[in-house]
Symmetry: D3
Subunit: 294 residues, 6 copies
């Protein structure tokens, strides 16, 4: 179960409130790269964890830490909204800076939340539970987590560039640091699980003898012509020759070539009410099975 404290994990200070920056911070709260996503992702992975206990423990710790990050960012949004323009009245015409701010604001920060953070991204698109990945396969989940912390740290550095508020830069420098740790931490699990060779192909519990072994290490090139030497570039790249990354095959490059047939579906079921013309033979007469419907 869970407990809380009345203090923040790290200090949140806004020297000069900026409602447009408040909107940008929403991306780090309710966006696909944001903290609600990683929080729920790690917690759901923990709650569904099957296998060695220590991975469950680890996910629980970091999932809990992430709640505190949502809290920090929600506080930062509210502080950036202090004194925000509440109307479309005269401000927009009179003051250029306010006009620009209003263009960058989320109107729902005024209309819906009363100058507080919401569970939405910087376009006002609500957080979506489909982003919470927990696959039951520990290695797949670790990649989902590395990916989340990579786009998360990327977002935080972009927010850091987007502001010159000292307080905000300090808070973001903290969050950037935590993302550094979290990237490393999920990578550490992948090492424990055997590294590239032990982990891949994910899932490593499916016998590779059952996969189609003529097509599991060849780069398929779909280029119709090759006037600029792409094929050559592909063959010379790391993925075009040599041992595969998982150590279990050899990379080759092959041109795309259909191995299947022209697909043929049956005529429509009459009860599905396609047009009659879809239910006639090549001689224009109605197919037998369609006769009883007309």
């Amino acid at each position: 179960m869970f407990y809380h404290d009345n203090k923040l994990q790290y200090k949140v200070r806004v020297d000069k409130p900026n409602p447009a920056f408040a909107n940008m911070l929403q991306q780090a709260i309710g966006g696909i790269e944001g903290e609600i996503r990683v929080c729920l992702q790690y917690l759901f992975q923990a709650w569904g964890s099957r296998g060695p206990q220590k991975y469950r423990d680890m996910l629980m710790e970091t999932g809990t830490e992430e709640i505190a990050h949502i809290e920090m960012l929600a506080t930062a949004v509210a502080l950036n909204l202090e004194g925000a323009p509440m109307s479309m009245k005269d401000e927009m015409a009179k003051d250029q800076v306010i006009g620009a701010v209003m263009g960058g604001m989320n109107p729902r920060h005024v209309l819906s939340s009363g100058l507080a953070a919401m569970a939405v991204d910087s376009n006002g698109v609500p957080f979506n539970g489909s982003w919470v990945v927990g696959s039951g396969n520990l290695a797949a989940d670790m990649y989902a987590n590395v990916m989340a912390e990579s786009t998360g740290r990327l977002l935080a550095t972009r927010l850091w560039e987007a502001t010159d508020d000292t307080g905000m830069k300090d808070m973001l420098a903290f969050l950037i640091a935590r993302d550094t740790m979290h990237q490393n931490q999920w990578l550490a699990v992948l090492e424990e699980l055997g590294g590239l060779n032990g982990v891949h192909p994910i899932p490593n519990s499916f016998p590779q003898t059952e996969e189609n072994q003529e097509n599991n290490y060849n780069f398929v090139s779909t280029r119709v012509n090759d006037m600029d030497g792409t094929a050559e570039r592909m063959r010379n790249a790391r993925w075009g020759n040599g041992t595969s990354m998982d150590g279990k095959g050899t990379f080759t490059v092959t041109p795309a070539m259909p191995k299947g047939d022209v697909p043929q579906l049956a005529p429509p079921d009459p009860r599905g009410h396609a047009q009659v013309e879809q239910m006639t033979g090549s001689d224009g007469s109605l197919l037998d099975k369609a006769k009883n419907i007309l």
Copy 2:
């Protein structure tokens, strides 16, 4: 630009149509682990690619291949729906197998698509463009791609387990193989970009001197008590001690401890119309700035 052929990339055969399996296959078409997602993800990454040309080329090739995978799966769905029950009439009471099938079917396969695939997952939830990740950072994108191919291959092996139709198993064995290659291929780019040490922390273009260096390699433990020795387990794990995976720090474990203050927001802006009681001082009198609204 793009071209097509009238044949499938690989043969799609259904020996015994199963509408409930048709529904399961939808996960591989319109689900977050599915082929529309990877197709658009690789193509959007290619179209927005900045930096060395060969990565754009590579993404384009594989993005194009994925369209053919959607096509194969859409064909498989349609073939599994041949002869599906079109009504709730008597079948359900009469035949146990049909009853079970109907329970597992997507009613929209009858009502909306006329026995054909749709751009939805196995719960009928529509494909969502938010799943298409292209961050502008090549390494972050490669992790997004490894993750997509890991959950994708996992899904395909689960579908393989869920059917005993020889044709379907053969098609899935092909798709599983392609996912093996694609996992390897994105990992190959990460190696080219410098491996763990060169790539992390992502983005590697943000100077680590600017991140909070007291908090970038410590595992934060949020446990309130530790009767079962979790802390010890954490300290002994790969992420609790030794050199970090990126080679740029040393892992430690520290207990969670608030470094910030109790957050303090200003009273509400009267024009935002909080309740009056939110705009009174500790002595119960109305705050000055709220006086003019009542």
Copy 3:
């Protein structure tokens, strides 16, 4: 403004309640082919109508009628849910028909609505306002409406096939009839607006001299090879030769051929924090503009 009556537009009778059919009916309420969509679509088109008054009047009349259709279907859902199984306990094992029904039910009819209709489709996916099309162009809107009534009538005939309840068939026969009228009605507007020749290309207020006149009446074939004579079939079809449907051009068939260049994007903006490797020249050295970030 709007008024109501306490009776239904047409009688709704359910002889034998069927909770699985109740779920199917949801498609006609909250689905993309359903009545909430057409109701809001016609009303929003009316409320935003610019131009001759009679089109606004007409849209208003039919938009209002559609509210009564939602009402009829919502009533039909509730009646089909009378006596539905409320539990997962023993029923499912004991009774085959109930088992089948439960498989086809929407569990939220029990859990969320207390045996009543909801604003969702037959997969439980909520109605989505993005489906409400009102473009400001009357002809485009009429096509949106013909399309809505075509998929709507198609859905209603499929529901008619899916039940043998006399009451339900009677109600659906009424709704099918109304959709016949509504298809005709929107087509009548298109005739008033000038028919194919007067209406197309939509919008007819954009001067065709400004569109690219080398590419406005040619069917583009993207086939990479043509072993089965598709090109010939295309050339012989109505869209492959002769006068175009709008009477303003002549159909031809041309093979797909790139007219554009290989796209070239600038290197990443350093403040967007791509990987360093994306910001190096072909000699491996850091691009000038990236130097100040590291």
Copy 4:
């Protein structure tokens, strides 16, 4: 900030796993009546709280408790999925109970999560951040919370009815009890804020002299005729006569009557490319401002 424990708030025991019940439990996790919603709702209200500190404290306490409820339910889902059928192969034909279970299962519990809970409802529709209400007005928020706990307790009692697993009934009896407390708790705040008379109309900080005082306490009847005496019933009901609930007006009943005009919009802006026919005067000639576009 936040902490956790390795134990559950209350015991979670499943005597006989039931994958269909696992799916039903998802409604209490990721549904609009579920625990993710109340958890985030109370926390976001706390983080954006402006006014007396004790309300922030209270929201924080209960928001934190709700995380533990998600945890309990996620655990219950995983336990109900132990041993669930992983395939569509032969089971469905052979065993009636399994067939029924499969009809009621969420296929993504097999395909996507590996037999664990997800952030979705019992239709597989993902949790949606738009459900997290925090308005900045404490009284409005308290009603949002009473409402959430009312539909939440209702859902829990329906789940209690739907199972006869002793362990599950015990867990649900705990959650039902907590919802009893939470309903009471938010109502207590409303009493502290002044009860019906002090609180309403919400927001109580908008001067009622500014609202339209001819229309603020009359029940508007939109009935076109009244053959069954509805008007009489309305006049005799609590909302049809006597002092209003907020004590600030007197209820009356008035028939609906338009007080506004027929709306008149300007002709389309030519650059918006309506059809030409929308831009002609009553004499059929093109409006002046449309002339320059053709």
Copy 5:
């Protein structure tokens, strides 16, 4: 069934069109606090109403009134969009007021609707049917309705503050008044149903003897430490002592304490293809049931 009139329920006048305000008004149309939501909510509650007839009648009346409110707001949006800038060309650089307006506009008002209202909120997020609450429990629904009218009136007062257009202020003063009535009206039903004591805990038809009676009236405090006296504040608040609001218990405050165990899930089902490392015992050897898959 439903009827309409060609006039508006109340006059809608825009003295000075403002496209940015048009966008704000969208929140009152397609937002979660908006009129489409209450309209559908009351109508669906009416259509699914079980129990005394007068509640159905009442819901029908007000649901029908709300359609007229959508109409008024849609008209207001269209009028505020008259003369809106149609391009990004030179205006933005030349005129500061237009620049600000464009920043606050919804580009889809130009691109998608041709200067008319859409079924979206002020972020352009489409109306979502999940917001339509009808639970089958009359008291829960009344709270949902009070809540909707509370956030609805709050929104309307914020829009009133955001404009100084006399026509818009007059229209909003009417809508604010109607929301006053509607809050009172739903509260009147709650009084008829027995007030706090009769109504709660909702649902009042679940025997409280079946809920966990040790945990139904205690405020759970999740604070890990209490340096600022929160616990004391909680104990002294209305929800910390004395008779509960429903009159059926006595409030107490108790510290959070786990009553459950450490959750233990079974190892993964091999057919779900977790990583092999998740299917090994503590001695590192493969679990029996996993052996047959590798």
Copy 6:
């Protein structure tokens, strides 16, 4: 299967990058009127095509062409974002044009994609798979396609008006031309299928004798009064008299009149836990079936 080329279908040139226009272009990529929608719509219709082969072929060709249109637009977005402001720092206050641009930008173009296109519309709302219509009825699908190309061409002409960049206008003139062809092409299929008389009512495979023939060609007027002669206008319009468009009936106008009864639902199932007051008879005593729950 599918192939690609490294060149664009048509040249994409941006003379003066404009990040606000980049945002507008997103509507043509990820919006409901956009290219991802038509691309997937035509491909899914092809993949599910049942009936004459040539329609499948045709859909495949044009579906493939549309991928190239997404590519062109994604390239245009990236080019319009070159040099976009990356921060909220000082720019907004200093430069009016930049301020206006920032107001019109999508912040996620900076924060999430690193100055590249995304699978979202011009409000940042993600592409939604529900927009992909493929009904199994060829005629209904052709109307869906005409409608898509009508709103698509409308959107493109509005984008053309919104820019004065010569390169962008040239690209849009090409896309507008292609939409002209595509409108004509789908109309040609409708002619092949028999024109209005042969095609309607859709589906033409449902025997009209089974629809309610008293209500299939009458325009229903829901007006409560008619002071301005609407009824007369309706009777004189094309849809108010004469032969119906499908040639199978005669248009009439009839006033709305309820043909159904007042709906009557059963009392609530006690296990669904409505309020007790909903389960009492008119004499106030508990209904028999509710007695056992209290």
